[in-house]
Amino acid sequence: MLRLVMLRPAHRPAGLPRLSNRYSVFSLARHALSPDKPWPRAWRSPEPKSSYDVIIVGGGGHGLATAYYLAANHGITNVAVIERSYIGSGNVGRNTTIIRSNYMLGGNTAFFEHSLKLWEGLSHTLNFNAMVSHRGQVVLAHSPSQLDVQSRRGNIMRLNGIDAELLDRGEVMKTLPYLDYSPEARFPIWGALLQRRAGTVRHDAVAWGYARAASNLGVDIIENCEVTGFVVQDGRVSGVETSRGRILAEKTGIAVAGHSSHVAAMAGLRIPIESHVLQAFVSEPIKPLVHHVVSFGAELFYLSQSDKGGLVFGGHIDGFNTYTQRGQFPKVQSVAECAVSLIPCVSRLRLLRHWGGIMDMTPDGSPFIGRTPLRNFYFNGGWCYQGFKATPASGWCFAHTIAHDEEHEFNRDFRLDRFEAGREMDEHGSGNWTYKQ
Amino acid sequence: MLERPSALAAVLRQAGRSGSDGSRALRLGEVRGWNLVQVAAFTSTAAELERVVSAALGVASLPTIGKTGEAGARRIFRTGPEQFWVTAPSADNLATRLQEVVPATMGAVTSLSHSRTRIFIEGEPAREVLARSIPLDFHPAAFAIGQFALTGIHHTPVLIHRAAEQRYEIYAMRTFALSVWEWLTDAALPFGYQIEGSA
């Protein structure tokens, strides 16, 4: 599998804009010297055509990446991305931006590592600085058996050519001196799994960068256009109904994350997803304080510091399905409890803002990318907590699947019907969450 | 009867702590020497069970949820649609009595005497301490004397009963009792508290 990753020109600088609007320190200088010379639009804002070869529903990270790779890798440029609001208005624009490839199940490891490799070259590929920061992620273990579980993960990573290091308590203390190592700590720190190549990415830039590069390759990005239905005839989808009229397409793919069930239902599909709200939190901007992505092991909680200076926190879903992009205060409290218990010095930092995003939760915590019971109709969703890091590979694989009407081996196991076969992909062994909210 | 060491034995030996103004406006401790029996009907036998149990306890009817019923030294809490908790002094062989009147076909009688630790908190700031622990309205009008609620303190289930104007009794799970105690005394810190009754 890995060799395959090498062969693929993952970061081939496809879709490099015409020199005139290529970004560089020189273009900045040019514009600085002649302030009246306007910058070109980052992406075109065309009227929708009456038909396309491929329509991608959803202008989030995955939809835009899919459009880009359709054009860049498969030469399919007569493509429209249809977004009901502004691009990046969904989870790509509201997530805690962590990227990593510490996955241990067969179906996951290669996919997420492929994604991390694509991240590594992304700013170059797109000629848009997405601030891909490989600052490293430390996943803490609070008991010997948790350390064993981390070890299994780390070993799989190493066996697949992915960087991973096991830290003992002392090494964690050196790396993250500000954690609570006192006897006061409710859950002592035993060690951790470190992936140095993991890190964060400037989330909005991912949407804009893919949009710009795709647009430069001829993809139409159509904002403020809501898909309200699909044109379905005897088991085949041939277009979409939108708030701006009917648009036909050879092939249609949906990548609408939290709205997956809702949109799939328009095509008569019932899928294994429930939509839950996940909250995120940011503190006031401060000078550099936390230099890694830190993940708590006692409860689902993680934080990192954005380049702008805010500490960005994330936790668990609120725990009931909803389509409102706002959370409940008790979850804000439990996240603050985790933050202060893990890193006592954040006590005096102030929460600036908190918000929510609609998460497409699946019973086993793994996503779907592939064909559907309907012909020429493809589905991408069910990303749970992990879709941001997946963005490049997801778009890459979804584009492949749509172009060849066949799953790539990277997304072979992300099938919509895997539960019928009994092929759950429970990466974290948390079991079917629908029993255990 | 063997003496029964308390789940709070260690802390009950302490004296308490003075609050920010040097006084001890609260009294905390554990109520000892009582038993707890749970009696529950099956959906279809609810009415029948209420009849025989109220007869056995010598009350006209069993209380509705939220209100306690008194039968001599015994106190009755409805803890579910057709489930009751009855407390009584240790001497009272309540469990046996109820087992006699409630056949297995009618319901389940379960002794829970050791399952719960009964913590009391008393004094003017008690309500504020509860406000810092439980998401319920303890305004005297909203939570009258004799009322009780099944709720949680610090993530653990409790039954809280307003026993008097400024006295609340908290039935906490035995295995979590010390945690609940630590939580309450920590909340009580600014007001000061005297620990009563040593184990």
Binding site: F329, F419, Q437 | P81
Partner: protein
């Protein structure tokens, strides 16, 4: 704060409850070996944007399972009933 009215205990914070997902799915009879039916029951969701009928259990309370009507587009909660009243229906 989502507030849920427990048919037994009255109105409480949702934090006293445990969510149990969609309550409108027909559960196949125990004896059924119909894998398709069981698969649909266990793994598929309507997950509607709007009125939703769902299970909750009052774990920090009377431990009753109940069925709540809630609008997932607004989080506005409606009526709740003891789960057993709709059992099998």
């Amino acid at each position: 704060m989502l507030k849920i009215t427990c048919p037994c205990c009255g109105e409480r914070d949702y934090t006293e409850f445990r969510y149990g997902s969609d309550a409108s799915k027909p559960r196949p009879p125990l004896a059924s070996d119909d894998r398709k039916a069981w698969h649909d029951y266990v793994f598929l969701f309507d997950n509607p944007k709007g009125p939703h009928r769902e299970f909750w259990q009052h774990v920090l309370g009377c431990r009753q399972w109940l069925v709540l009507e809630r609008n997932t587009a607004t989080n506005i909660v409606g009526a709740s009933r003891p789960a057993r009243e709709i059992a099998g229906k």
